[in-house]
Symmetry: C2
Subunit: 254 residues, 2 copies
C-alpha cells in the first residue's frame, strides 16, 4: 500500500486564494517537498516535516517525494500558484515516467490552484478576456530561438500573452530581447502589465505601452501580461486604470 502524493499549489500567495481542497491536503500530508519560499507559506503542525530545496531542482525534489510516497508516507509537493502551470505537476509526471516501475503505483492527487496570470489579470481588469497564451521565458529548458519563434507566432495570432519566469540574475537579457521581438510585430501602444505579488501586501502593478516596456520593471516574482492590438485601457478618476481585452473581435456574428 503506497502513500498518497498530493501535488498542490498555494495560489498567488494570499492565503485567502488557496482552495479549501488544497488546504485539506496540507492537513493530511506528513512530509512537504518544495522550493523554500512556498513551504514557508504553510503553517504546519509539529508532526509535519518540511523538506525544502532550491528552485531548479524540480526533478530531484519530485523523485524524493515519490520515493517517500512509495514507502507508504503521505507527502505533498508544493508549488506556488497552480501546480500544473510551469510548476511541479509536470516534474512529478516526468519523474514517474523515468523512474522505477513502483512509482507508477503511487496514489497521485494533483489539485489545481489560482495561477499567477489569473491573479494579475483580476487586479488590473480583464486582459485575458479573449484568446491568450502562457509562455515561460526561461531558456534553461528550451532554446531561445524557439521562444522567439513562439513570440512571433503568438503576436501574429493576436493572442494576449502571459510571461512566466521573465527574468533572473542568470537570464538578464532575455526579457529585453522578447520586447524587441514583439515591437517588430505589434503596435507600440499595446498595453503591457507588470504584475508583482498580486493580492499580497507588497503588490506592485504597473502598466506601460509596449514601446516603453523595460526589463528593469520586472523581477523573478513578476508575471507580465502583454496585450493584443484589441486590448483597451479605461481611465478612471481617482482609481487605477482598467486594462481589458474585449470578448468581441471585428467580424464576429454577435
Amino acid at each position: 500500500m503506497t502513500g498518497t502524493l498530493y501535488v498542490i499549489g498555494t495560489g498567488p500567495g494570499n492565503p485567502d486564494q488557496m482552495t479549501p481542497e488544497a488546504r485539506h491536503a496540507v492537513e493530511r500530508a506528513r512530509e512537504f517537498f518544495g522550493y523554500f519560499p512556498y513551504l514557508d507559506r504553510l503553517s504546519l503542525r509539529s508532526d509535519q516535516i518540511k523538506v525544502a530545496s532550491d528552485n531548479r531542482e524540480e526533478l530531484d525534489r519530485a523523485s524524493a517525494a515519490l520515493k517517500r510516497a512509495s514507502e507508504g508516507i503521505d507527502v505533498a509537493v508544493v508549488s506556488g500558484g497552480d501546480p500544473g502551470v510551469f510548476a511541479m505537476a509536470a516534474a512529478v509526471c516526468e519523474a514517474i515516467d523515468r523512474g522505477p516501475e513502483e512509482w507508477k503505483a503511487v496514489e497521485l492527487v494533483i489539485l489545481p490552484g489560482v495561477t499567477a496570470m489569473l491573479s494579475v489579470a483580476a487586479r488590473i481588469g480583464a486582459p485575458l478576456g479573449h484568446d491568450f497564451c502562457a509562455l515561460s521565458l526561461s531558456d534553461n529548458l528550451k532554446p531561445w530561438d524557439l521562444i522567439e519563434r513562439r513570440l512571433q507566432l503568438a503576436a501574429q495570432a493576436g493572442f494576449v500573452m502571459a510571461f512566466y519566469n521573465p527574468i533572473s540574475k542568470a537570464r538578464p537579457w532575455q526579457l529585453g530581447k522578447a520586447f524587441d521581438v514583439l515591437r517588430a510585430e505589434l503596435p507600440g501602444s499595446v498595453p503591457v502589465v507588470f504584475g508583482r505579488a498580486a493580492g499580497r501586501p507588497d503588490e506592485r502593478m504597473q502598466v506601460v505601452p509596449l514601446a516603453d516596456a523595460d526589463p528593469a520593471m520586472a523581477d523573478m516574482a513578476t508575471c507580465i501580461i502583454v496585450g493584443s492590438d484589441q486590448t483597451r485601457i479605461i481611465k478612471r478618476e481617482g482609481k487605477p486604470d482598467l486594462v481589458y481585452t474585449p470578448r468581441f473581435h471585428d467580424g464576429g456574428k454577435a
Copy 2:
C-alpha cells in the same frame, strides 16, 4: 458613495475549489447576477437576491449589476471557473467602457478563481506543463476564419491548446472543423483530452489520439486540451493514464 461590484468565479463546480476570498465576497453582496446554473451553486441567505439570466446576455447582465452598484448596493457578478477567462470580468469592463460616466466610479473588485483548463489538467496529469494557449471556439464573438488561423499558428508554435466553448446546438460543426485544421498541422498521435465536470461527481475524462478525436465526445460543459508533439502518455496498471507535457524541450541548456 457607490456599492461594491464583486466579480467572482465559483471555480470548476466543486465547492472545495472556490477560494475563501470569493466565498467572503458572496457573504458581503446583496444581489447576485449570473447565468442561472452558476447562481444555483451558491447557498444564499434569505436577504440575498438572485438575478438569473441566460448565457449570451453577458453585457446586459453586467450593465444591470453596474446600475445597482452605482445606486449604492453591494452586488456580485458570478461566473463559473475564473471570471477573467472567457467570462464576466471582460463583459463588466466592456459595460464600464461603453456606459455612463458614473459607472467608472463603482468600486470594482475582481477575484480570481480556478479556471476549467486547470482543473481538467490536474485530473489527467500535467498537459499544461509547457507553453500553452487558451482559445474560445465560439464564432459568435469572432469570425471563424480567425479561429482557424489561430489554430494553425498555435500548432506551428508548438503550444498545447485548451478549448473553451467547444460546441453547442447553435455551433455544431466548428469543433470537427477545428480538429481537421489541427490534423493538417500535427501528428495524429497527439493526445486530446476531453474533460467534463472535472472534480465533480459526474466527471468524465477521455483521452484519444488527435486522429480519432470526434466532436461527439464533447458537449457545452467540456474543456478540451490538445497536446503538442511533445506531450506524453504514461500507462499505469490499474490506474488511469497520465498525460503530461515535459517542461524540457530539445535544445534547452538544462
